[in-house]
């Protein structure tokens, strides 16, 4: 895991530094900005769904799906960050204990 930890840390730092260093016109472009604004939305949606509904290369429905639904319900009601995470964890653990 070390290579990924180190490479990821360096690449994220370099990106931060790039914002202060690259010529303005490269990043100050309507298309680049529009892609950059949508990337987190796409990645977070895919991360939440694939992490909850798959194991390895298999799609599975298990207690984690209940945790996902609980998190969505909390976030939709603007619950604090930790409450949303705690709901996902608690519902998953609860369903797992029942099954």
């Amino acid at each position: 895991m070390w290579p990924a930890v180190i490479a990821g840390s360096i690449s994220c730092y370099v990106l931060k530094l790039l914002g202060y260093s690259v010529p303005r016109r490269i990043l100050d472009n309507a298309r680049v900005k529009s892609v950059a604004a949508l990337l987190p939305v796409a990645l977070l949606a895919a991360l939440a769904l694939t992490q909850s509904l798959s194991t390895g290369q298999h799609l599975v429905v298990d207690p984690r799906m209940g945790g996902l639904v609980a998190a969505i319900a909390c976030a939709a009601r603007r619950a604090p960050f930790l409450v949303t995470v705690a709901a996902a964890v608690a519902v998953t653990a609860g369903l797992r204990a029942l099954t």
């Binding site: 895991m1 180190i6 990821g8 840390s9 530094l17 914002g19 796409a42 990645l43 949606a45």
Partner: protein, 219 residues
């Protein structure tokens, strides 16, 4: 100002605590978790890296996902470079360039206030985030991460980060299509790669749109 910064620092501490717990549940050591919080220091990327690694994804896919999520910090730096007017301290300011410090600087009424807001928030979040990470990563000592439901903590965090960003119709469409594309790719490609397929959806949509709607999204 300092009070606001301290409050934001404490609030992000809760988030850092969950990161520590998720990271150790994903199989990273305490030292690896601490390096991520100290050096990578950008929440969504850290969660993504450990989630992909914990899900059996390749290191390359984990790094790529973290990097794509961290790209927004470059755009904060672009807007901050004139406000902060730095030379010597630029490498340090770059490390503290994250959602919270940038948002506080952008919200300030004038340049001196913006500078103070940036540094106070950046330092407060850095200290609280790293301290909370250590506490969180010790939680796995209590019991089996899976029995405790900790494997669902990272998706919970992704949901909490995502929903406030869904402010336009285009963002809802992209989230929906990207999420489904990710799921559809699960049986077809190695673990970790489905998320990168979803990034392709954003790239295509953003490249084609660049309308008033996306300008609003990026503001």
């Amino acid at each position: 100002m300092v009070k606001n910064a301290a409050f934001i620092g404490l609030a992000t501490g809760a988030y850092g605590f969950s990161f520590g717990a998720v990271s150790s549940a994903s199989g990273l050591s305490l030292l690896q978790t601490m390096v991520l919080s100290g050096v990578m220091f950008t929440g969504a990327s850290q969660f993504a890296l450990v989630a992909v690694l914990g899900g059996g994804g390749a290191g390359v896919a984990a790094v790529a996902t973290a990097t794509v999520l961290g790209s927004r910090n470059a755009f904060y730096g672009l807007r901050l470079v004139d406000t902060l007017g730095l030379t010597l301290w630029r490498p340090v300011a770059a490390q503290l360039t994250i959602d919270e410090s940038s948002a506080m600087a952008f919200a300030a009424p004038d340049r001196p206030t913006a500078r103070r807001a940036f540094w106070a928030t950046g330092v407060a979040v850095f200290v609280c985030w790293n301290a909370a990470t250590i506490v969180g990563s010790l939680i796995h000592l209590i019991g089996n991460p899976s029995t405790l439901g900790l494997d669902e903590a990272a998706p919970g965090a992704f949901v909490a980060l995502l929903l406030p960003q869904l402010r336009t119709r285009l963002s809802w469409v992209v989230a929906g299509v990207a999420g489904l594309a990710g799921l559809a790719a699960v049986p077809l490609v190695p673990a970790g790669v489905p998320v990168l397929c979803a990034a392709g959806v954003a790239a295509v949509a953003g490249w084609r749109a660049r309308s008033a709607q996306t300008a609003e999204l990026s503001s």
